[in-house]
Subunit: 213 residues, 2 copies
């Protein structure tokens, strides 16, 4: 499959398609047209067809899409048919929230370890995983096959930890620390900057207030 | 100020500018050129100038930007010079993580209340705010001036709660529930779909593996 030229914007929309298709599947719907999907998802049917054409179109437009097939194909494109082992660095509330999120496991993301530098948190149980000391991170990475590290620690610690992660084979980082990480080429980083999202909301509130004055 | 035609893509980049300018300010830097900012932030200088031109340009390019001034102006554009009171619906780990995040308060987001339907959590203290029963939400909203509701509850509950929120004057929702909310026109919603972000990472891992095979 040729996937190199697909824009991150298209990729960013695939999980949303998957979510709606999952709901349709749960409701027992077997076929859906781009028009029906368009109304459900509040995007144009032409956008949907364009997005799907990046991956060969997924079947004949006139007959609608087979929901189950489309769901499976998009899952595969997203790599959800592979298992991905992940660890969480930071055993605070955010780390625990992510560790407890069962939905990740259903998507093939397997929670394998949790680390913190605070000795008081070491030994805590988060969904069957014991919090370990950050001092044991390097050894753990060498002995286990971990794909993804989730960073839920302050930005100053994040910068140091990234080096340990990269030196020990981590290829993908899901970063919640409020900093842009410098990583070697080939290491994937997906940022979730929560403050940025809140500020975007604040901008739009402010903008609306000015318009209504 | 004319703000109507500015794209959400530009708005989405402003918090990142603010983050870098805040660091420069903390380091005592007084002026910065678009070229220097470009190298720091790993975006083109032309992108920076284009983004800033949406707001009048913020000063003369040849002399560089005044860091303090630029920081303050972008803060104002983002509405961070206003106070925004917020409540959190859902006193689980994610809700607690957001309630405990002090940085929000520094940006003018004031944590005013937290609600949960689980009676065992009612009365818990999260950074000085006592968790209240969801049954008291309506009365609380009528008696307090709340701008933003943060939803950290499952998608089935989120749909019902949104009606209560909207009927009682909430104008902005920061939504972490894994569902697209149906809200009346004029109500702002900013979604943080964590699974979607993780799947995007998974896609890129998968894609890289295929290329290296």
């Amino acid at each position: 499959m040729e996937t190199k030229e697909i824009s991150q914007a298209v990729i960013g929309r695939l999980p949303r398609y998957l979510r709606y298709l999952g709901d349709l599947k749960d409701d027992g719907v077997e076929r859906v047209s781009s028009q029906e999907l368009s109304e459900l998802m509040n995007v144009t049917a032409s956008q949907i067809r364009q997005d799907f054409n990046n991956f060969g179109g997924f079947g004949q437009q006139g007959y609608g899409y087979n929901v189950e097939y489309l769901y499976e194909e998009i899952s595969k494109i997203l790599g959800l048919d592979h298992r991905h082992n992940f660890i969480i660095i930071g055993a605070g509330n955010l780390g625990r929230a992510l560790g407890n999120y069962l939905n990740f496991e259903r998507r093939g993301f397997i929670f394998k370890g949790m680390f913190d530098k605070n000795p008081k948190l070491v030994g805590d149980d988060v969904r069957g995983v014991k919090v370990m000391s950050i001092d044991g991170l390097e050894e753990f990475l060498q002995e286990n096959d971990i794909d993804i590290a989730v960073l839920t620690i302050p930005k100053t610690s994040a910068v140091d930890i990234v080096n340990v992660l990269v030196d020990n084979g981590i290829r993908a980082i899901w970063n919640f620390a409020h900093v842009d990480l410098n990583v070697p080429e080939g290491i994937l980083v997906e940022n979730v900057h929560l403050s940025d999202s809140l500020m975007k909301l604040s901008y739009n509130i402010n903008c609306k207030e000015q318009r209504s004055e």
